[in-house]
């Protein structure tokens, strides 16, 4: 029964994603353009231009937004299952603050290198966005974000003395988040030039996702989704309580470590490519639950699909709402996600219904 419903929902999500891709090809700085028509039209300068815009910019960006959304949706479902808490979000293990610190340090070091006359600097300091078009700057910042995310998760794990105690893990994540956030502020205080660039990262953006990022996120998502699928029964078992899961013969320690690794990889990859995009990881599993109550094995796929739809849709809106200007997609997801959670609380029947006071 559940499987049929899951199949139906996945088919819907695939359709919406296809629509997002088609619209994503047509919406740009000039608002809606019939690029698809131009692509299919006679071979002329207009078609060459359309080809370039679509192939180099809009297609990788749209597909990248879908892939990043899928990663965050998957990570959200994993985090909520692992922490047995519907309010858990993928950034809880400190990955977001770690990535921010990594980027802040990278920007600050590029800034100070600039004083020594390095060639990279100008781009870093001039860049209005952290997602600069220079390959080296981008690679450096993406690497810094990823390294920061991974190191922060490791710090959280060492503070929590492993993954045995969920509450300790949660507390350690909060502490790491607060402390690294403070260090990031300190770094920015001493390197005010990085502030503007840093802001783009903190707001999240899908603007500069290229084919490399897109491919990387797709491959990581596939790996993480397969790993999550094989570990899904552990999450079902854990939802019965730790003692019961243990009594069922599940080796909780190693399996939880594997789940944390998948969560960190999915979140770290998404954050490194798109900055901090709020609420997608938190809201995607809730939206799925509002439509179907399913075991984790199906929730992983559905939450990924929902994350892709959410971020893909938000990316379209961000491009279109105030064209030719563009809204940071993270701001949009935060506003829409916040409104959604508020609605869910007031409705009182969703998975957050218990929060109504």
């Amino acid at each position: 029964m559940n499987v049929t419903r899951t199949g139906g929902l996945l088919a819907w999500a695939a359709l919406v994603c296809a629509a997002v891709v088609v619209l994503g090809l047509c919406i740009g700085s000039a608002g809606f353009e019939n690029t698809v028509g131009a692509l299919l039209g006679p071979p002329n300068a207009e078609r060459a231009m359309a080809q370039q815009i679509v192939w180099d910019i809009r297609l990788p960006r749209t597909l990248g937004a879908l892939a990043a959304g899928a990663l965050l949706g998957l990570a959200g479902a994993l985090a909520q299952g692992l922490f047995r808490n519907p309010l858990a979000d993928p950034y809880l293990l400190g990955s977001a603050s770690g990535a921010s610190l990594g980027v802040a340090l990278a920007l600050a070091s590029m800034g100070s290198a600039g004083m020594l006359g390095s060639s990279v600097v100008n781009e870093a300091s001039v860049a209005a966005s952290v997602f600069s078009s220079s390959v080296w700057v981008r690679l450096g910042l993406t690497g810094a974000a990823f390294a920061g995310a991974v190191l922060a998760v490791m710090l959280t794990l060492s503070l929590a003395r492993g993954v045995q105690h969920t509450l300790r893990l949660l507390l350690a994540g909060v502490i790491v988040g607060v402390v690294l956030g403070a260090v990031t502020s300190l770094v920015l205080l001493f390197s005010p030039d990085s502030l503007q660039a840093m802001q783009s990262f903190l707001l999240g953006s899908t603007s500069f996702i290229g084919w490399t990022s897109c491919l990387l996120m797709a491959v990581v998502w596939l790996l993480c989704a397969l790993a999550a699928w094989t570990l899904a029964r552990v999450l079902d078992g854990l939802s019965l309580g730790e003692a019961t899961a243990q009594s069922l013969g599940l080796p909780i320690g190693p399996l939880r470590a594997a789940l944390v690794a998948v969560l960190a990889l999915a979140t770290g990859t998404a954050v490194a490519q798109t900055g901090l995009i709020a609420f997608v990881g938190l809201a995607a599993p809730h939206l799925v639950r509002a439509m179907a109550r399913v075991p984790h094995r199906q929730l992983m796929w559905l939450s990924s699909a929902m994350g892709a739809v959410l971020l893909g849709g938000a990316d379209l809106l961000a491009r279109w709402l105030i064209a030719p200007q563009e809204l940071p997609v993270g701001v949009l997801t935060a506003v829409l996600g916040g409104l959604y959670l508020l609605w869910l609380m007031h409705r009182g029947s969703g998975s957050l219904g218990g929060l109504r006071t």
Partner: protein
């Protein structure tokens, strides 16, 4: 009646958060019988049950069906001993069927779909606890009592020789408490061993044997039919309860202050 030993603890001590909770307990649980652990709040009943299930670090030794529990392979231990804990579940999204199917985990290969034996065991357990009719409903939409019956079915679906239950009657109304007794009786008839921690002393007095605990120690262990065992139960509660025979069964009642402040009983009414 079988006379083997299902569970055995030797010099068992355990602590929680640095505070000693169990002191040097040596105890044998007889196979094929229902043993109930009784005692006041904080006596260490649930902790003892957890230690018996191998879910708690402890000193001393615990053996299950003659084998040291810590050295048993995880899955064979899970097939031999089923556990029903109290108030741990957050599986609101899972249907009753999915929850009960989790009881089959110790019997299933990692990614294998359930086989006919699993399906039959789940159906049997759900029918046994009268939860079959709402097997498709998510756990989150069930009442406390309905939930408890699904969780009991989950433990039964393991089809283990030994079943440990911590407060299994929580949220069950009196008729369903009686149904629970029937479930236990059926398990015993099939050679199972049941160990429970219960606050409902009247229900617990139906057990074959009672383990009486107080302040982390076992103060008495014996057959329920022995007057000394029932005395030990009253002692454990500082004589603030009394056990009376009524219609062929034992009934435990708390001593209420000399005059019931809420509904004074007429003086001529018999006690």
């Amino acid at each position: 009646m079988k006379s083997g030993i299902a569970l055995s603890a030797q010099s068992l001590s355990a602590s929680l958060g640095g505070r000693a909770v169990l002191y040097d307990i040596s105890l044998n649980i007889v196979q094929g019988q229902w043993t109930s652990i009784l005692g006041p709040n904080g006596a260490g009943k649930s902790t003892l049950l957890k230690a018996f299930a191998g879910l708690l670090p402890h000193s001393g030794s615990v053996s299950l069906l003659g084998q040291p529990i810590q050295s048993m392979p995880r899955r064979s231990r899970a097939r031999a001993l089923a556990w029903l804990g109290q108030n741990e579940t957050a599986a609101d999204d899972l249907s009753a069927w999915d929850v009960v199917m989790l009881g089959r985990l110790p019997h299933q290969a990692w990614l294998a779909p359930p086989n006919d034996k699993d399906l039959a065991a789940v159906e049997r357990a759900l029918r046994f606890t009268q939860a079959w009719d709402w097997r498709h409903r998510p756990l989150g939409q069930l009442s406390g009592g309905e939930r408890q019956r699904v969780l009991l079915a989950r433990a039964l679906a393991v089809e283990a020789q030994v079943l440990l239950m911590d407060e299994p009657l929580a949220n069950l109304d009196p008729p369903h408490q009686a149904d629970w007794l029937c479930v236990v009786e059926a398990l015993l008839m099939h050679g199972g061993t049941v160990v429970s921690v219960l606050h409902e002393i009247t229900i617990a007095l139906n057990a074959n044997r009672l383990v009486v605990m107080r302040e982390g120690r076992v103060t008495h262990h014996g057959a329920t039919q022995d007057a000394a065992t029932r005395d030990a139960v009253c002692q454990a509660f500082d004589k603030r309860i009394a056990i009376h025979p009524l219609n062929g069964q034992w009934v435990a009642l708390p001593h209420i202050p000399s005059v019931n402040p809420f509904h004074p009983v007429p003086k001529d009414a018999s006690p």
